[in-house]
Each structure stands twice: as structure tokens, then as C-alpha cells.
Amino acid sequence: MYYLIVRNLGAPRCVDHSDKDIYEDGMSFDCTPHLECNPKEFVKEVEITCVEHPEDPIVAMVFRD
């Protein structure tokens, strides 16, 4: 399982997960959830936007279990 984790104001949160590594630069996600996830291995960084506020892109991290 792959997890998309964003970190804001020092607090990380898991906002999405997927069986495959679907995460790429420029994608949009709902950034408000706090999903349960089990991140163990860092995969990569991607620049995404939040659908609620697409004006300011953010850097998110992809992990896998």
C-alpha cells in the first residue's frame, strides 16, 4: 500500500492511499482527511495541490508499508 502524506505546521497527516504508486506532480487531492496509514519506507516527493485551495501548491511525501 502506498500513502500520500502532507505535513503542515509541523503536523503530518495521511490524505490518501492506494494499492499502486499513482502519485505524480501536479495531481490534486482532498487535503483535509486524517486517514489511518502505516508508512514505513519513503518513496518520493511530489508537488500536489489541494482541491480546496489549488492556488498554493505543496510538497507531499509518498511512503509505502
Partner: protein
């Protein structure tokens, strides 16, 4: 012959008299070079606050006259409890304040202190660069925010010096102002020396100051020039609006009603989308680069008189660069609260609808979080298998919250950030 005899001395006298007029800026002036030790600048106060929003408060006192009359008729047989009656009158019935939804806009007031080096030990010394008549003639302050802070200047509200103030209300606005200000440099009148039998009276009743300001995303620049006898030593206050990059958050607003017994019942949770500052980490202090350039007017001779016309002026220019603390973490972090235990990290309550819809149960202020926790602890129906609010299941440590699993004694209100 007679004409020539009068013409030559008369012309000389005219030149002498016009040469001694006290409306001159100086007697002589020369540029002497750079000296970065003559003036100091300090940002001694920077205060950040939520940007004020035009008040939308509506209560009974803001009703129209007709509505007030109608209300009085309705309340003719009013509720007997005075306390509740007065409480109802002072309730706010207006829309939610916009400040509650956007935490990225902040007002910052900065007070810069400009001071001269007053080295009285060098008075009357030929190499000295201080006299009581010295003044800072020109000042440029610039403040630059590093890009890493994801913060930018949004709007410039006000700029105040010891002598005047200008209001600038546009992002890229820049203009020069000549401010005419009442003032007086030690008496309304000055009399010049009367060595040639000429008595000139000059009223010093006005001071002149030029102010100039510009602002861009990362940089603000303020300039001041004292064009006549104005020393720019003192405080400069700049009010600016700042905007952080935004990051979305979802906060829950509990809505309570009272039952017939006066017991507070949770009617539901309103989900509210808000924007908070977007910063990966929350640094304890956000710094900015402060740069000051100045022109220092040193009076090498002629400083015994208040007037500047007899001054032998030496100009120095200087610059200072320093990193200044702009504001602290507590100033920009939103004060959201959640409910959980702090024994094993932050195990906070969550709301769960589906694997993709799971949210932290967070409140926009301490009061609402406390009210929810109090309601949770006296929740009347303790026989539930899981607690549902508006179709969302309440989770604790990833499991549905039940009376058995609820850690009654250790649940508390915790700050989210």
C-alpha cells in the same frame, strides 16, 4: 562719476546681503564618504494580529426602530428570568465573522527605532563626526521576507514617523508626499546675526518631510527625507497586511440546543472549511532581512546657531544590514483544539464515514472543544455500540468509541498545533 561711486559699493552690498540670507540650506557642503557607525536601527516591536474584518455584528440594539418596537410588543409578557432575558437581548444573531474562516491574513505592526551615535567626547575635535546640529537627512528602510517562509506582503496600511503619517491602501502604490506640519524649532522666530546692520526675521513655523513607500510580494521599502531641519531620529511605525500561503483544514463547530430541563444537547456538528498558513514546519521565529541606508548631515561648523544657513556641512552615507525576528510561532499558529489523550502521543478523536472520509475532530477554539468534551462525558445514552454524530462514527485510536473504550479520566482538550 557719482553714479559709478554708488553703483559699485551698492552692488557689493547687494551681493553681501543676499549671501547672508538665512533661507540658505547651508554655507558649504561636501561629501565625505562612507561611515556605517553613525546611525543604528532596531526593530523593537513587531506585533502580529488577525486582520480586522469589518464588523457584521447584529444584535437587538442594531435593529431598526420598527423592529425594536415589534420586539418590545412581543416581549410584553416577557420571560420571568431576568438573566436569561438580558442574555437573549445581547446575543449575536449576525453571520459568522470572516476571521473564523481565513487564518492566512495577518496584520503586522512594526516599530523601528532610529538613533544617532551621540559621541559628545568628540565635540570640537577636528576629526569628530558629531555635533548637536547633526541630523539624519535621508533614510531608506527595506524589509525582505525570505521565500522559504511562504509569506508575502499583501497590503500596506499605514506608515507613521515622528512627524507625520501617510495611508497607502494599494499593493504596488508608490508616491511622494510633501507634508506640511505644524512645528517650531525652539521659538517661532529666529534672528540672524546683525554684523552688516541687517536684521532678518524668519519664521520657522513649518517643517517639511518627504515620505515615500513601496511594497512588493517579498519586500517593503520606506523612505523619509527631512528637507529642512528635520532629524529623522526617532520611531517609524509601519502597518502592513501579510498573507501566508494557504492550506485547507476542516474544523467542526458543535451546535447545542437546550432541552426542557435546561440540559445541553448536541444537535449536530457543522463542518467548516478554513484556511491556515501553509508551512511544512512551524519555525519558532520567522526572520526577515532589514536593511537601512542613510545620509548623515554632519555640521562641522556653524552648529552654535539653530539656523542651518551658516552650517559647513559634511555628508556621510552609511548602511546597516541585519536579520530581525518578525514574529513568533504563537503569533501565526491557529488555535485549534482537539480531544484526546496525551499519554501516548496525540491519540485524538476522529470522525469516520468511510476509509476515504476520516477527519480529525478539531474545533476552532478552546471553548467549543470544552463544551463538546463536557457533553461527551455526560452523554445520557450510554448504551450505544458506537457513537454516531451526523452519520459519522467517532473513533478513538482507530476503533469506534464506546462507553467501555472511552478513556474517561484521561480525555482532555489538546492543541492541534
Amino acid at each position: 562719476m557719482k553714479k559709478t561711486a554708488f553703483l559699485v559699493p551698492g552692488t557689493i552690498l547687494l551681493f553681501v546681503l543676499s549671501g547672508c540670507t538665512t533661507v540658505k540650506r547651508f554655507k558649504t557642503a561636501a561629501y565625505k564618504g562612507k561611515d556605517n557607525e553613525l546611525v543604528e536601527v532596531e526593530l523593537f516591536n513587531a506585533r502580529l494580529s488577525a486582520e480586522p474584518v469589518a464588523g457584521g455584528e447584529k444584535n437587538v440594539w442594531t435593529l431598526s426602530a420598527n423592529a425594536q418596537t415589534r420586539l418590545i410588543q412581543i416581549l410584553d409578557e416577557r420571560y420571568p428570568d431576568n438573566e436569561q432575558f438580558i442574555s437573549a437581548l445581547t446575543d449575536n444573531y449576525g453571520p459568522e465573522d470572516l476571521r473564523d474562516t481565513d487564518y492566512t491574513l495577518k496584520d503586522l505592526r512594526m516599530v523601528f527605532t532610529i538613533r544617532k551615535s551621540r559621541d559628545y567626547a568628540l565635540l570640537n575635535k577636528s576629526g569628530g563626526r558629531f555635533s548637536p546640529a547633526d541630523r539624519i537627512e535621508y533614510l531608506e528602510l527595506s524589509l525582505e521576507i525570505p521565500e522559504s517562509s511562504r509569506l508575502e506582503f499583501h497590503e500596506w496600511n499605514r506608515y507613521v514617523t515622528e512627524y507625520g503619517a501617510i495611508h497607502i491602501a494599494d499593493v504596488s502604490f508608490s508616491r511622494n508626499l510633501d507634508l506640511t506640519l505644524e512645528g517650531n524649532m525652539g521659538g517661532p522666530d529666529l534672528e540672524s546675526g546683525a554684523s552688516l546692520g541687517r536684521n532678518e526675521r524668519q519664521e520657522i513655523s513649518q517643517r517639511y518631510l518627504k515620505l515615500n513607500g513601496s511594497i512588493s510580494d517579498r519586500r517593503m521599502v520606506i523612505e523619509a527625507e527631512g528637507t529642512r531641519e528635520v532629524d529623522l531620529t526617532g520611531n517609524v511605525t509601519a502597518d502592513v497586511s501579510l498573507r501566508f500561503d494557504g492550506f485547507p483544514e476542516l474544523v467542526m463547530v458543535p451546535v447545542f440546543v437546550s432541552d426542557e430541563d435546561g440540559q445541553r444537547i448536541l444537535a449536530g456538528l457543522d463542518f467548516q472549511n478554513v484556511l491556515v498558513p501553509a508551512m511544512e514546519n512551524a519555525p519558532d521565529t520567522i526572520h526577515a532581512d532589514l536593511r537601512m541606508r542613510y545620509i548623515y548631515r554632519h555640521v562641522a561648523d556653524g552648529w552654535r546657531t539653530f539656523g542651518e544657513w551658516d552650517d559647513r556641512v559634511e555628508y556621510y552615507q552609511g548602511m546597516q544590514v541585519q536579520k530581525v525576528p518578525l514574529f513568533l510561532k504563537k503569533d501565526y499558529l491557529p488555535e485549534f483544539y482537539c480531544i484526546g489523550t496525551d499519554q501516548t502521543g496525540k491519540d485524538a478523536l476522529k470522525l469516520h464515514k468511510s476509509p476515504e472520509k476520516e477527519y480529525l475532530l478539531q474545533f476552532r477554539n478552546y471553548r467549543e472543544a470544552v463544551m463538546f468534551l463536557e457533553w461527551l462525558q455526560v452523554y445520557p445514552d450510554m448504551q450505544y455500540d458506537s457513537l454516531l454524530i451526523g452519520g459519522y462514527e467517532v473513533l478513538y485510536e482507530g476503533e469506534p468509541l464506546t462507553p467501555a473504550s472511552l478513556p474517561w479520566n484521561s480525555l482532555r482538550v489538546l492543541p492541534v498545533f
